[in-house]
Protein backbone atom coordinates (compact mmCIF):
# COMPACT_ATOMS: atom_id res chain seq x y z
CA UNK A 1 0.00 0.00 0.00
CA UNK A 2 1.33 3.40 -0.85
CA UNK A 3 2.14 5.75 2.04
CA UNK A 4 -0.38 8.29 0.83
CA UNK A 5 -3.10 5.68 0.92
CA UNK A 6 -2.17 4.65 4.43
CA UNK A 7 -2.24 8.26 5.55
CA UNK A 8 -5.65 8.77 4.01
CA UNK A 9 -6.94 5.70 5.80
CA UNK A 10 -5.54 7.04 9.03
CA UNK A 11 -7.55 10.22 8.73
CA UNK A 12 -10.86 8.38 8.58
CA UNK A 13 -13.09 9.08 11.53
CA UNK A 14 -14.07 5.44 11.78
CA UNK A 15 -10.85 4.99 13.72
CA UNK A 16 -12.22 7.04 16.57
CA UNK A 17 -15.51 5.17 16.46
CA UNK A 18 -13.66 1.97 17.30
CA UNK A 19 -10.61 3.23 19.17
CA UNK A 20 -12.54 5.16 21.81
CA UNK A 21 -14.74 2.25 22.95
CA UNK A 22 -11.62 0.11 23.16
CA UNK A 23 -9.97 2.69 25.40
CA UNK A 24 -13.09 2.60 27.54
CA UNK A 25 -12.85 -1.17 27.78
CA UNK A 26 -9.21 -0.88 28.84
CA UNK A 27 -10.17 1.71 31.45
CA UNK A 28 -12.82 -0.55 32.94
CA UNK A 29 -10.57 -3.61 32.89
CA UNK A 30 -7.72 -1.64 34.43
CA UNK A 31 -9.89 -0.12 37.16
CA UNK A 32 -11.41 -3.41 38.23
CA UNK A 33 -8.01 -5.14 38.14
CA UNK A 34 -6.68 -2.44 40.47
CA UNK A 35 -9.12 -3.58 43.09
CA UNK A 36 -7.73 -7.08 43.14
CA UNK A 37 -4.13 -6.84 42.02
CA UNK A 38 -3.10 -3.29 42.78
CA UNK A 39 -2.23 -0.32 40.63
CA UNK A 40 1.22 -1.39 39.47
CA UNK A 41 0.12 -4.63 37.89
CA UNK A 42 -2.97 -3.04 36.41
CA UNK A 43 -0.87 -0.28 34.85
CA UNK A 44 1.68 -2.78 33.63
CA UNK A 45 -1.00 -4.91 31.98
CA UNK A 46 -3.33 -2.37 30.44
CA UNK A 47 -2.21 1.22 30.65
CA UNK A 48 1.52 1.20 30.04
CA UNK A 49 1.59 -1.64 27.57
CA UNK A 50 1.46 -1.92 23.80
CA UNK A 51 0.00 -5.40 23.83
CA UNK A 52 -1.75 -7.43 26.41
CA UNK A 53 -2.40 -11.11 26.01
CA UNK A 54 -5.81 -12.60 26.64
CA UNK A 55 -5.86 -16.37 26.47
CA UNK A 56 -3.16 -16.38 23.79
CA UNK A 57 -4.73 -13.59 21.77
CA UNK A 58 -2.74 -10.34 21.55
CA UNK A 59 -4.88 -7.28 22.10
CA UNK A 60 -3.85 -3.64 21.81
CA UNK A 61 -2.81 -2.01 25.07
CA UNK A 62 -3.39 1.62 25.89
CA UNK A 63 -0.12 2.78 24.39
CA UNK A 64 -0.91 1.26 21.00
CA UNK A 65 -4.34 2.85 20.85
CA UNK A 66 -3.03 6.24 21.95
CA UNK A 67 -0.24 5.99 19.37
CA UNK A 68 -2.79 5.22 16.68
CA UNK A 69 -4.96 8.12 17.79
CA UNK A 70 -1.98 10.45 17.83
CA UNK A 71 -0.96 9.57 14.31
CA UNK A 72 -4.53 9.68 13.08
CA UNK A 73 -5.13 13.05 14.66
CA UNK A 74 -1.93 14.48 13.18
CA UNK A 75 -2.80 13.18 9.72
CA UNK A 76 -6.31 14.53 10.00
CA UNK A 77 -5.24 17.99 11.11
CA UNK A 78 -2.69 18.30 8.34
CA UNK A 79 -4.42 16.52 5.51
CA UNK A 80 -8.10 16.51 6.02
CA UNK A 81 -9.41 19.21 8.34
CA UNK A 82 -10.62 22.30 6.54
CA UNK A 83 -8.76 25.28 7.94
CA UNK A 84 -11.76 27.55 7.59
CA UNK A 85 -13.47 29.88 10.01
CA UNK A 86 -16.61 27.79 10.77
CA UNK A 87 -14.40 24.90 11.81
CA UNK A 88 -11.81 26.93 13.67
CA UNK A 89 -13.09 25.88 17.07
CA UNK A 90 -12.93 22.20 16.25
CA UNK A 91 -9.48 22.61 14.79
CA UNK A 92 -8.15 24.29 17.90
CA UNK A 93 -9.69 21.59 20.09
CA UNK A 94 -8.11 18.83 18.06
CA UNK A 95 -4.79 20.61 18.22
CA UNK A 96 -5.14 20.72 21.98
CA UNK A 97 -5.88 17.01 22.09
CA UNK A 98 -2.78 16.32 20.03
CA UNK A 99 -0.69 18.44 22.37
CA UNK A 100 -2.05 16.42 25.27
CA UNK A 101 -1.04 13.16 23.63
CA UNK A 102 2.41 14.46 22.82
CA UNK A 103 2.84 15.70 26.34
CA UNK A 104 1.79 12.34 27.65
CA UNK A 105 4.34 10.68 25.42
CA UNK A 106 7.08 12.99 26.63
CA UNK A 107 6.16 12.33 30.24
CA UNK A 108 6.03 8.58 29.75
CA UNK A 109 9.48 8.60 28.21
CA UNK A 110 11.34 11.05 30.39
CA UNK A 111 9.64 11.49 33.76
CA UNK A 112 11.39 10.43 36.90
CA UNK A 113 9.18 9.92 39.94
CA UNK A 114 10.12 8.80 43.38
CA UNK A 115 10.29 9.92 46.95
CA UNK A 116 12.54 10.92 49.83
CA UNK A 117 11.94 9.94 53.40
CA UNK A 118 13.62 12.30 55.82
CA UNK A 119 13.87 12.44 59.57
CA UNK A 120 14.42 15.84 61.22
CA UNK A 121 17.97 17.10 60.57
CA UNK A 122 18.57 14.40 57.98
CA UNK A 123 19.80 15.50 54.59
CA UNK A 124 19.88 13.69 51.30
CA UNK A 125 20.93 14.49 47.76
CA UNK A 126 19.11 11.77 45.89
CA UNK A 127 15.63 10.37 45.68
CA UNK A 128 14.54 6.80 45.05
CA UNK A 129 12.26 5.57 42.33
CA UNK A 130 8.98 3.99 43.39
CA UNK A 131 9.33 0.87 41.32
CA UNK A 132 12.65 0.35 39.55
CA UNK A 133 14.90 -1.98 41.46
CA UNK A 134 18.55 -2.46 40.78
CA UNK A 135 21.42 -4.72 41.70
CA UNK A 136 24.33 -2.65 42.95
CA UNK A 137 27.85 -3.89 43.64
CA UNK A 138 30.16 -1.49 45.40
CA UNK A 139 33.86 -1.68 46.11
CA UNK A 140 35.14 0.00 49.25
CA UNK A 141 32.04 2.12 49.42
CA UNK A 142 31.87 3.21 45.77
CA UNK A 143 29.35 1.83 43.32
CA UNK A 144 31.14 0.06 40.51
CA UNK A 145 28.48 -2.07 38.85
CA UNK A 146 24.75 -1.38 38.62
CA UNK A 147 22.15 -3.36 36.67
CA UNK A 148 18.43 -2.81 36.58
CA UNK A 149 16.55 -5.82 37.88
CA UNK A 150 14.18 -5.72 34.91
CA UNK A 151 17.12 -6.52 32.61
CA UNK A 152 18.19 -9.58 34.56
CA UNK A 153 16.96 -13.14 34.16
CA UNK A 154 17.54 -16.36 35.94
CA UNK A 155 20.64 -18.09 34.57
CA UNK A 156 22.40 -14.88 33.52
CA UNK A 157 26.10 -14.72 34.18
CA UNK A 158 27.24 -11.26 35.12
CA UNK A 159 30.82 -10.29 34.52
CA UNK A 160 32.60 -7.05 33.98
CA UNK A 161 36.11 -5.65 33.79
CA UNK A 162 35.60 -3.94 37.12
CA UNK A 163 34.53 -7.13 38.89
CA UNK A 164 37.10 -9.66 40.09
CA UNK A 165 34.44 -12.39 40.07
CA UNK A 166 31.58 -13.77 38.01
CA UNK A 167 28.05 -13.72 39.35
CA UNK A 168 25.75 -16.53 38.21
CA UNK A 169 22.13 -15.59 38.82
CA UNK A 170 19.94 -18.41 40.03
CA UNK A 171 16.54 -17.08 41.02
CA UNK A 172 14.92 -13.66 41.03
CA UNK A 173 11.77 -12.69 42.82
CA UNK A 174 9.89 -9.41 42.65
CA UNK A 175 8.57 -10.03 46.11
CA UNK A 176 10.44 -12.44 48.32
CA UNK A 177 9.90 -14.03 51.66
CA UNK A 178 12.44 -15.63 53.97
CA UNK A 179 11.71 -19.15 55.17
CA UNK A 180 12.52 -20.18 58.75
CA UNK A 181 15.55 -21.98 57.31
CA UNK A 182 16.83 -18.62 56.07
CA UNK A 183 16.10 -19.44 52.43
CA UNK A 184 14.74 -16.94 49.96
CA UNK A 185 11.55 -17.90 48.16
CA UNK A 186 9.19 -16.04 45.91
CA UNK A 187 6.00 -14.68 47.46
CA UNK A 188 2.80 -13.30 46.00
CA UNK A 189 3.16 -9.72 44.82
CA UNK A 190 1.84 -7.02 47.09
CA UNK A 191 -0.93 -4.83 45.82
CA UNK A 192 1.28 -1.80 46.38
CA UNK A 193 4.43 -2.43 44.43
CA UNK A 194 6.48 -0.21 46.73
CA UNK A 195 5.96 -2.74 49.49
CA UNK A 196 7.41 -5.59 47.44
CA UNK A 197 10.86 -6.77 48.52
CA UNK A 198 12.90 -7.88 45.54
CA UNK A 199 15.52 -10.54 45.98
CA UNK A 200 18.00 -12.68 44.08
CA UNK A 201 19.95 -15.81 44.75
CA UNK A 202 23.25 -16.24 43.00
CA UNK A 203 26.48 -18.11 42.92
CA UNK A 204 30.00 -16.72 43.10
CA UNK A 205 32.96 -19.09 42.84
CA UNK A 206 30.95 -22.06 43.96
CA UNK A 207 29.30 -20.37 46.96
CA UNK A 208 25.59 -19.66 47.02
CA UNK A 209 24.44 -16.29 48.24
CA UNK A 210 21.23 -14.31 48.49
CA UNK A 211 20.51 -10.61 48.46
CA UNK A 212 17.26 -9.09 49.65
CA UNK A 213 15.97 -5.54 49.27
CA UNK A 214 15.92 -3.54 52.51
CA UNK A 215 18.20 -6.07 54.16
CA UNK A 216 21.81 -5.30 55.08
CA UNK A 217 24.00 -5.72 51.97
CA UNK A 218 26.01 -8.84 51.40
CA UNK A 219 29.68 -8.35 52.23
CA UNK A 220 32.40 -10.20 50.38
CA UNK A 221 36.05 -9.63 51.11
CA UNK A 222 38.50 -10.34 48.33
CA UNK A 223 42.07 -9.58 49.21
CA UNK A 224 42.08 -6.10 50.79
CA UNK A 225 38.89 -4.97 49.11
CA UNK A 226 35.38 -4.98 50.54
CA UNK A 227 32.62 -5.67 48.07
CA UNK A 228 29.00 -5.01 48.99
CA UNK A 229 26.21 -6.57 46.97
CA UNK A 230 22.83 -4.97 47.53
CA UNK A 231 19.40 -4.79 46.01
CA UNK A 232 17.77 -1.43 46.23
CA UNK A 233 15.35 0.91 44.58
CA UNK A 234 16.95 2.91 41.84
CA UNK A 235 18.23 6.24 43.08
CA UNK A 236 18.32 9.43 41.04
CA UNK A 237 20.85 11.92 42.20
CA UNK A 238 19.79 15.47 42.69
CA UNK A 239 22.18 18.26 41.88
CA UNK A 240 21.70 19.66 45.37
CA UNK A 241 21.03 18.57 48.95
CA UNK A 242 17.77 18.74 50.82
CA UNK A 243 17.82 18.83 54.59
CA UNK A 244 14.73 18.54 56.75
CA UNK A 245 14.68 21.12 59.53
CA UNK A 246 11.20 20.70 60.97
CA UNK A 247 7.95 19.01 60.18
CA UNK A 248 4.50 19.57 61.50
CA UNK A 249 1.18 17.92 61.29
CA UNK A 250 -1.62 20.25 62.15
CA UNK A 251 -4.77 18.42 63.16
CA UNK A 252 -8.22 19.88 63.53
CA UNK A 253 -8.67 20.68 67.22
CA UNK A 254 -9.49 17.67 69.33
CA UNK A 255 -9.42 15.26 66.38
CA UNK A 256 -7.02 13.03 64.46
CA UNK A 257 -8.06 14.56 61.15
CA UNK A 258 -5.06 16.23 59.57
CA UNK A 259 -5.71 19.78 58.52
CA UNK A 260 -2.32 20.32 57.01
CA UNK A 261 1.10 18.75 56.64
CA UNK A 262 4.21 20.80 56.15
CA UNK A 263 7.98 20.51 56.20
CA UNK A 264 10.63 23.16 56.55
CA UNK A 265 13.66 22.27 54.47
CA UNK A 266 17.00 23.81 53.63
CA UNK A 267 18.33 23.47 50.09
CA UNK A 268 22.09 23.51 49.70
CA UNK A 269 23.25 24.00 46.14
CA UNK A 270 26.98 24.56 46.06
CA UNK A 271 27.50 27.73 48.05
CA UNK A 272 23.81 28.62 48.13
CA UNK A 273 21.66 27.82 51.19
CA UNK A 274 18.06 28.73 51.43
CA UNK A 275 15.03 27.68 53.41
CA UNK A 276 11.75 26.63 51.91
CA UNK A 277 8.41 25.45 53.16
CA UNK A 278 6.71 22.47 51.55
CA UNK A 279 3.02 22.03 52.24
CA UNK A 280 0.30 19.71 51.08
CA UNK A 281 -1.07 21.46 47.96
CA UNK A 282 1.96 23.79 47.85
CA UNK A 283 5.00 22.04 46.44
CA UNK A 284 8.55 23.33 46.09
CA UNK A 285 9.92 23.70 42.58
CA UNK A 286 13.64 23.98 42.04
CA UNK A 287 15.80 23.31 39.02
CA UNK A 288 13.24 21.21 37.24
CA UNK A 289 12.45 19.08 40.26
CA UNK A 290 9.24 19.38 42.21
CA UNK A 291 8.98 18.34 45.85
CA UNK A 292 5.57 17.53 47.29
CA UNK A 293 4.54 16.82 50.84
CA UNK A 294 3.15 13.34 50.37
CA UNK A 295 2.61 12.42 54.00
CA UNK A 296 4.06 12.35 57.48
CA UNK A 297 4.84 8.91 58.81
CA UNK A 298 5.12 7.86 62.39
CA UNK A 299 7.45 4.96 63.22
CA UNK A 300 7.54 4.39 66.93
CA UNK A 301 8.13 7.82 68.36
CA UNK A 302 9.96 9.09 65.30
CA UNK A 303 8.18 11.21 62.76
CA UNK A 304 9.35 11.16 59.18
CA UNK A 305 8.51 13.48 56.34
CA UNK A 306 7.78 11.74 53.06
CA UNK A 307 8.43 14.03 50.12
CA UNK A 308 7.38 12.95 46.64
CA UNK A 309 9.87 14.07 44.01
CA UNK A 310 9.15 14.42 40.32
CA UNK A 311 11.24 15.52 37.38
CA UNK A 312 9.02 15.86 34.38
CA UNK A 313 10.01 17.73 31.24
CA UNK A 314 6.55 17.29 29.82
CA UNK A 315 4.95 19.00 32.78
CA UNK A 316 3.69 22.06 31.01
CA UNK A 317 1.94 20.18 28.22
CA UNK A 318 -1.29 19.26 29.98
CA UNK A 319 -1.72 22.86 31.08
CA UNK A 320 -1.20 24.22 27.61
CA UNK A 321 -3.24 21.46 26.02
CA UNK A 322 -6.10 21.99 28.47
CA UNK A 323 -6.19 25.69 27.81
CA UNK A 324 -6.11 25.16 24.06
CA UNK A 325 -8.89 22.57 24.17
CA UNK A 326 -11.06 24.77 26.35
CA UNK A 327 -10.58 27.75 24.05
CA UNK A 328 -11.31 25.52 21.08
CA UNK A 329 -14.58 24.24 22.53
CA UNK A 330 -15.78 27.67 23.61
CA UNK A 331 -14.91 29.13 20.21
CA UNK A 332 -16.76 26.30 18.51
CA UNK A 333 -19.83 26.92 20.65
CA UNK A 334 -19.86 30.60 19.80
CA UNK A 335 -19.08 30.18 16.10
CA UNK A 336 -21.50 27.33 15.53
CA UNK A 337 -24.29 29.30 17.13
CA UNK A 338 -23.59 32.14 14.74
CA UNK A 339 -23.77 29.85 11.75
CA UNK A 340 -26.53 27.61 13.06
CA UNK A 341 -29.27 26.59 10.66
CA UNK A 342 -32.68 28.16 11.46
Amino acid sequence: MRPARILTLLTRPVIIVYALPWIMVLLILGTVTQRYAGLYISEHLFFSSFIFWFRGVPLPGMLSVLALLGVSLTAKIILKSPWRLPMIGTLITHLGALLLLLGGLLTAMTAREGNMVLAPDQSQSYFTDYHARELAISKNGNDIYIRSLDDLHSGDVLHDATLPFELKLQTLCRNCAVTPEQKLIGAAANKTDEANRAGITFNISGHNYAALESAPPLRIKIGKDDYNIALRKHAYSLLFTVQLNALSEDNYPATDIAREYQSLVTITDGAVHWQARIRMNEPLRYRGYTFYQAEIDQIGDRRLSVLAVVHNTGRAFPYIAGLVMAIGMIVHLIVSRKTAAP
Binding site: S248, E260, I334
Partner: protein, 177 residues
Protein backbone atom coordinates in the same frame (compact mmCIF):
# COMPACT_ATOMS: atom_id res chain seq x y z
CA UNK B 1 -27.58 33.24 23.27
CA UNK B 2 -24.20 34.77 22.66
CA UNK B 3 -24.74 36.98 25.67
CA UNK B 4 -25.55 34.01 27.82
CA UNK B 5 -22.33 32.31 26.87
CA UNK B 6 -20.49 35.53 27.56
CA UNK B 7 -22.23 35.73 30.89
CA UNK B 8 -21.18 32.20 31.72
CA UNK B 9 -17.59 32.94 30.79
CA UNK B 10 -17.65 36.10 32.90
CA UNK B 11 -19.03 34.19 35.87
CA UNK B 12 -16.35 31.55 35.41
CA UNK B 13 -13.62 34.18 35.26
CA UNK B 14 -15.07 35.87 38.32
CA UNK B 15 -15.04 32.58 40.21
CA UNK B 16 -11.45 31.93 39.23
CA UNK B 17 -10.61 35.45 40.30
CA UNK B 18 -12.30 35.02 43.63
CA UNK B 19 -10.62 31.69 44.11
CA UNK B 20 -7.23 33.15 43.26
CA UNK B 21 -7.83 35.97 45.69
CA UNK B 22 -8.68 33.44 48.33
CA UNK B 23 -5.65 31.37 47.34
CA UNK B 24 -3.28 34.21 48.03
CA UNK B 25 -4.87 34.86 51.40
CA UNK B 26 -5.04 31.27 52.53
CA UNK B 27 -3.20 29.69 55.41
CA UNK B 28 -3.48 32.72 57.63
CA UNK B 29 -4.70 30.37 60.30
CA UNK B 30 -2.04 27.71 59.84
CA UNK B 31 0.69 28.08 62.37
CA UNK B 32 4.42 27.91 62.08
CA UNK B 33 5.85 24.90 63.82
CA UNK B 34 7.52 26.99 66.48
CA UNK B 35 5.01 29.71 67.25
CA UNK B 36 4.65 30.58 70.90
CA UNK B 37 1.20 30.35 72.42
CA UNK B 38 0.06 33.21 74.52
CA UNK B 39 -2.76 33.59 76.91
CA UNK B 40 -2.19 37.30 76.56
CA UNK B 41 -4.32 38.50 79.39
CA UNK B 42 -3.23 40.56 82.35
CA UNK B 43 -2.97 38.48 85.47
CA UNK B 44 -5.89 39.11 87.84
CA UNK B 45 -4.84 40.82 91.01
CA UNK B 46 -4.64 38.54 94.06
CA UNK B 47 -3.00 38.64 97.44
CA UNK B 48 -1.08 36.18 99.51
CA UNK B 49 0.45 36.13 102.97
CA UNK B 50 4.14 35.38 102.83
CA UNK B 51 4.98 32.78 105.48
CA UNK B 52 8.49 34.17 106.04
CA UNK B 53 7.57 37.67 107.19
CA UNK B 54 3.80 37.38 107.65
CA UNK B 55 3.17 40.33 105.32
CA UNK B 56 0.40 40.40 102.76
CA UNK B 57 1.53 41.05 99.18
CA UNK B 58 -0.36 41.83 95.99
CA UNK B 59 0.76 40.21 92.77
CA UNK B 60 0.88 43.68 91.25
CA UNK B 61 3.70 44.55 93.67
CA UNK B 62 6.00 42.67 91.28
CA UNK B 63 4.75 44.29 88.13
CA UNK B 64 8.15 45.04 86.62
CA UNK B 65 9.60 41.60 87.03
CA UNK B 66 9.04 38.18 85.57
CA UNK B 67 6.90 36.26 88.03
CA UNK B 68 6.59 32.50 88.33
CA UNK B 69 3.45 31.54 90.21
CA UNK B 70 3.78 27.94 91.27
CA UNK B 71 0.91 25.88 92.74
CA UNK B 72 2.08 22.91 94.78
CA UNK B 73 1.27 20.64 97.69
CA UNK B 74 3.53 18.68 100.01
CA UNK B 75 1.76 15.41 99.20
CA UNK B 76 2.49 15.79 95.49
CA UNK B 77 5.82 14.12 94.48
CA UNK B 78 6.40 16.07 91.22
CA UNK B 79 5.87 19.28 93.21
CA UNK B 80 8.51 18.24 95.67
CA UNK B 81 10.89 17.29 92.85
CA UNK B 82 10.59 20.54 90.99
CA UNK B 83 10.75 22.81 94.03
CA UNK B 84 14.53 22.75 93.93
CA UNK B 85 14.65 23.59 90.24
CA UNK B 86 12.39 26.56 90.89
CA UNK B 87 14.35 27.91 93.82
CA UNK B 88 17.55 27.50 91.78
CA UNK B 89 16.08 29.64 88.98
CA UNK B 90 15.09 32.25 91.54
CA UNK B 91 18.57 32.25 93.00
CA UNK B 92 20.13 32.83 89.59
CA UNK B 93 18.01 35.91 88.86
CA UNK B 94 17.64 37.75 92.18
CA UNK B 95 16.64 41.07 90.64
CA UNK B 96 14.61 40.17 87.57
CA UNK B 97 12.52 37.28 88.78
CA UNK B 98 10.08 36.61 91.58
CA UNK B 99 8.93 33.14 92.57
CA UNK B 100 5.59 32.85 94.35
CA UNK B 101 4.88 29.34 95.60
CA UNK B 102 1.29 28.80 96.73
CA UNK B 103 0.62 25.64 98.68
CA UNK B 104 -2.65 23.76 98.41
CA UNK B 105 -2.06 21.63 101.46
CA UNK B 106 -5.09 21.29 103.73
CA UNK B 107 -3.24 22.71 106.74
CA UNK B 108 -0.75 25.54 106.93
CA UNK B 109 1.48 23.41 109.12
CA UNK B 110 2.09 20.81 106.42
CA UNK B 111 2.95 23.54 103.93
CA UNK B 112 5.43 25.23 106.24
CA UNK B 113 7.06 21.95 107.20
CA UNK B 114 8.02 21.34 103.60
CA UNK B 115 8.88 24.98 102.91
CA UNK B 116 11.43 24.95 105.68
CA UNK B 117 13.49 22.42 103.70
CA UNK B 118 13.84 24.73 100.70
CA UNK B 119 16.83 27.03 100.13
CA UNK B 120 15.02 30.31 99.56
CA UNK B 121 16.39 33.67 98.51
CA UNK B 122 14.83 37.09 98.99
CA UNK B 123 12.84 36.84 95.78
CA UNK B 124 11.04 33.67 96.83
CA UNK B 125 7.65 33.94 98.52
CA UNK B 126 5.91 30.90 99.97
CA UNK B 127 2.29 31.15 101.05
CA UNK B 128 -0.48 28.82 102.13
CA UNK B 129 -3.47 29.03 99.79
CA UNK B 130 -5.65 26.55 101.63
CA UNK B 131 -8.02 29.20 102.90
CA UNK B 132 -8.34 31.73 100.08
CA UNK B 133 -8.11 29.16 97.27
CA UNK B 134 -6.52 31.51 94.75
CA UNK B 135 -5.55 28.46 92.68
CA UNK B 136 -9.13 27.36 92.10
CA UNK B 137 -11.03 30.60 92.30
CA UNK B 138 -8.74 32.80 90.25
CA UNK B 139 -6.69 30.45 88.06
CA UNK B 140 -9.02 27.47 87.82
CA UNK B 141 -6.14 25.24 88.87
CA UNK B 142 -7.16 21.96 90.48
CA UNK B 143 -4.22 19.75 89.66
CA UNK B 144 -0.66 20.20 90.81
CA UNK B 145 1.95 21.26 90.10
CA UNK B 146 1.23 24.09 87.73
CA UNK B 147 3.50 27.03 87.05
CA UNK B 148 2.24 30.19 85.45
CA UNK B 149 4.81 32.47 83.82
CA UNK B 150 3.93 36.16 83.98
CA UNK B 151 5.93 38.62 81.93
CA UNK B 152 7.06 42.00 83.23
CA UNK B 153 4.03 44.22 82.80
CA UNK B 154 1.65 41.64 84.15
CA UNK B 155 0.66 39.66 81.04
CA UNK B 156 0.35 35.89 81.44
CA UNK B 157 2.75 34.29 78.98
CA UNK B 158 2.03 30.62 79.40
CA UNK B 159 1.32 27.83 81.84
CA UNK B 160 3.46 24.80 82.51
CA UNK B 161 1.17 21.91 83.37
CA UNK B 162 2.85 19.36 85.55
CA UNK B 163 6.46 19.14 86.56
CA UNK B 164 8.71 21.79 85.06
CA UNK B 165 11.10 20.28 82.51
CA UNK B 166 14.74 21.10 81.84
CA UNK B 167 13.69 22.69 78.56
CA UNK B 168 11.27 24.94 80.44
CA UNK B 169 14.09 25.94 82.78
CA UNK B 170 16.34 26.72 79.81
CA UNK B 171 13.64 28.82 78.18
CA UNK B 172 13.04 30.81 81.34
CA UNK B 173 16.75 31.50 81.68
CA UNK B 174 16.98 32.48 78.03
CA UNK B 175 14.09 34.92 78.35
CA UNK B 176 15.73 36.66 81.26
CA UNK B 177 18.92 37.55 79.41
Amino acid sequence: MRYKILLLVLIFVACVGAALFDYTHRYSDAKDPDEVTLAGQTVPNFTFKNSEDGKVYHITDFKNKTVLVNFWASWCPPCRRESHKLTAIAKKHPHDLVLVMLSEDDTEGKALDFARSLPITANVYIAWDGRIHTAQNIFQTYRYPETIIIQPGGKIQRKIIGEISDQDVAEIHAALH
